[in-house]
């Protein structure tokens, strides 16, 4: 009883191409990488470099034209009081948004990672991603209505006789305002809402990677649940927090839509850039402002690396 050997299928063009690519693996890799590398190199980095190049030029005060000579005076203009205000405002907002998002995301991500099973986990992902299916602008305007003086928050507060609490919050100096939708607090809340999925998902991934046996081992060795949380879970989840914070921080630094709709009319970096490159025609200054978030993120990432956030990599 013998087993007949099946003949090899006939050599077609497709098979020859596949065999060639298989034996010349580098070529296959190159073919895969060329489109995204071109995209990254030419369209993204190229345009970014072109913009940054502009930041070393300056505007001649009399003619209003861009003088294409290398100079640092445009950067010098960043250090005026008004411009430093903008930078500080944006950076502070980015930091506070990051903190609020981390605080909200942690319990949600923790529950999803450790307790949600099967169908509930899928439901969780859906719930987190669902807002991203709708328009960004629609969500921001929805918040404007919610936070308005005649909006639902004020209404509920009044019904619960907590109107005084809302007024108290609004009267906090600097961050308060005439209504929630016209104060920094409102901006802070909306930013935090919009970027929340980007904090939840990396955090949940990091928490899921903590093996159950490691948590059991900590309990086995005598640690109470609170101690296990502080000494084992939190350090292991920290890279996830940093990954999420990179999103919230950088996205807030560059955003120009939300501060324009919600909050005081004092500008953020994104709005300033838009203004300078648009109506004012001051491309060098717009470019200089663009460098600021890049520089801030570079410092941020360096600190994150020192704190061990990229250990897992």
């Amino acid at each position: 009883m013998s087993v007949a050997v099946l003949p090899m299928p006939p050599a077609s063009v497709g098979r020859r191409v596949s065999s060639f690519l298989y034996t010349h693996g580098w070529l296959f890799l190159a073919l895969l990488l060329v489109p995204p590398v071109l995209w990254l190199g030419i369209i993204y980095l190229g345009s970014l470099l072109a913009l940054l190049l502009q930041s070393f030029f300056y505007i001649d005060e009399f003619t209003g034209q861009v003088v294409q000579e290398f100079s640092l005076r445009t950067y010098g203009q960043l250090f005026t009081a008004a411009n430093m205000d903008v930078i500080l405002r944006t950076a502070t907002m980015a930091a506070s948004v990051t903190l609020l998002d981390a605080a909200i995301a942690f319990p949600i991500a923790y529950y999803a990672a450790r307790y949600a099973k099967g169908r509930w986990k899928a439901a969780f992902y859906l719930a987190v991603m669902l807002p991203l299916w709708s328009s960004y602008l629609v969500r921001v305007y929805a918040w404007k209505l919610i936070l308005a003086k005649e909006g639902i928050i004020t209404w509920v507060a009044t019904q619960l006789h907590l109107g005084w609490a809302v007024d108290g919050v609004l009267s906090i100096p600097v961050v308060g305002g005439s209504s929630l939708s016209a104060s920094y607090i409102g901006t802070w809340l909306v930013f935090s809402y919009i970027w929340l999925p980007y904090m939840i998902l990396p955090l949940q991934a990091a928490l899921e990677r903590v093996p159950r046996s490691v948590i059991e081992a900590s309990a086995d060795l005598g640690a109470r649940p609170g101690e296990t949380f502080r000494k084992v879970i939190l350090p292991l989840a920290f890279p996830g927090v940093v990954a999420g914070s990179i999103f919230t921080f950088s996205l807030t630094l560059g955003d120009y839509i939300i501060p324009g709709i919600i909050g005081s009319s004092r500008p953020f970096i994104g709005q300033v850039v838009l203004q300078h490159q648009g109506t004012a025609g001051n491309i060098p200054l717009a470019a200089a402002f663009t460098v600021v978030p890049i520089a801030i993120m570079a410092v941020y990432l360096w600190i994150a690396k020192r704190l061990g956030a990229f250990h897992a990599l």
Binding site: S213, E216, A219, L221, G222
Partner: protein, 347 residues
């Protein structure tokens, strides 16, 4: 003065149900202080669940578990004087080896100098001194296993639980670790409760073995007793290789149809027609298969009535001789006292 054997662990009618599945089914036994006790069985037999019940990671649905006479109902794992060596070692990836080992002592608020000294001592005992600054990710499997052991032992628990700790190691390393574990247990003198599916491991290391099957214990006893006098067909088949003779074949050989087992190494294989002593059992058969196993040769002999017996012969005179080959008719002879009569299978 005779040493009083105190009871370390007692299970009284313990059951653990997961919905309709009875992972542990009305299990009762005791473990004495200082003994090396193994829980042996196939996957899903309930042995790991029993271990987790002792550690406190699971709660029994019925029954009581006592640790040194104290009922463990409602006592969480961090309040039990029990430590576990996990199957995947469960080392803390964000701490180095020394901090891993000293973790339990840190939780107990022992001052740093003292706990580092004790951790160092422990690492020496498991032959890992000098690796204190390394991280778990930089260690080999065998080294991680030792760190897990050191981390559990440093707290001087009264009972140490080991959940298939040698499963991921290769054969040579596993055998070496078996000897070292046995030596450490004798040196430290605490109760070891060892879960494994490897019957050879259990036989080599234990003072007593409990054989698990489908959530119940089929037999508890010393290794020699389990091997020589298996109580049920399952134990006979799971612990070592055994020949099961039942029905018509049993009738022919022993005169009654009661099932019995006999170990392959106790059967002598000889040429057909060899005379056998009066009180011995014998059977004629045809050699259906032959395997060279290095130190021994295994023969499969068909003796009729649908029964094929395994016979193991030691290759003490060099390689297997050409006297017996596949297809030959042979005579199998063994002493009556080597037969193990089976009780009715406990299902």
């Amino acid at each position: 003065m005779a040493k009083q054997a105190t009871t370390a662990i007692e299970f009284a009618g313990v059951s653990r149900h997961f919905a309709e599945v009875r992972a542990v089914d009305a299990v009762t036994f005791t473990i004495a202080d200082g003994e090396f006790f193994s829980m042996l069985g196939p996957s899903g037999s309930g042995k790991t669940t029993c271990l987790r019940l002792i550690a406190g990671f699971e709660r029994p649905t019925e029954g009581r578990i006592l640790l040194h006479g104290r009922d463990m109902a409602g006592v969480p794992p961090f309040e039990r004087d029990v430590n576990t060596v996990f199957q995947d070692y469960a080392l803390f990836p964000h701490m180095n080896v020394r901090d891993n080992v000293a973790y339990g002592l840190m939780i107990r608020k022992m001052p740093r100098a003292e706990r580092y000294a004790r951790a160092h001592e422990m690492l020496e005992m498991v032959k890992l001194s000098g690796l204190g600054e390394r991280r778990p990710g930089q260690l080999s499997g065998g080294q991680r296993q030792r760190v897990a052991l050191a981390r559990a032992l440093v707290n001087r628990p009264s009972v140490l639980l080991l959940d298939e700790p040698l499963g991921a190691l290769d054969l040579k390393l596993r055998e070496q670790m078996q000897e070292e574990l046995k030596a450490i247990q004798r040196q430290v003198g605490i109760t070891f409760i060892y879960v494994t599916h490897d019957q050879g491991e259990a036989l080599a290391m234990s003072d007593r073995i409990a054989v698990f099957n489908h959530g119940r214990i089929e037999q508890i006893g010393a290794p020699a007793e389990i091997y020589d006098r298996p109580a049920t067909e399952f134990v006979a088949g799971f612990v070592g290789v055994s020949n099961l003779i039942e029905g018509a074949a049993a009738e022919r050989i022993l005169g009654s149809s009661r099932s019995f087992t006999v170990r392959p190494e106790r059967i002598r294989i000889a040429a057909s027609g060899t005379a056998s002593p009066g009180d011995a059992c014998s059977a004629e058969g045809r050699v259906a298969g032959l395997s060279f196993l290095g130190a021994t040769t295994r023969y499969k002999v068909d003796i009729g009535n649908g029964t094929e017996l395994s016979v193991i012969r030691q290759n003490s005179d060099g390689l297997p001789s050409d006297d017996i080959g596949v297809g030959d008719t042979v005579r199998l002879i063994w002493e009556k006292r080597q037969n193990n009569m089976l009780a009715a299978d406990k299902r």
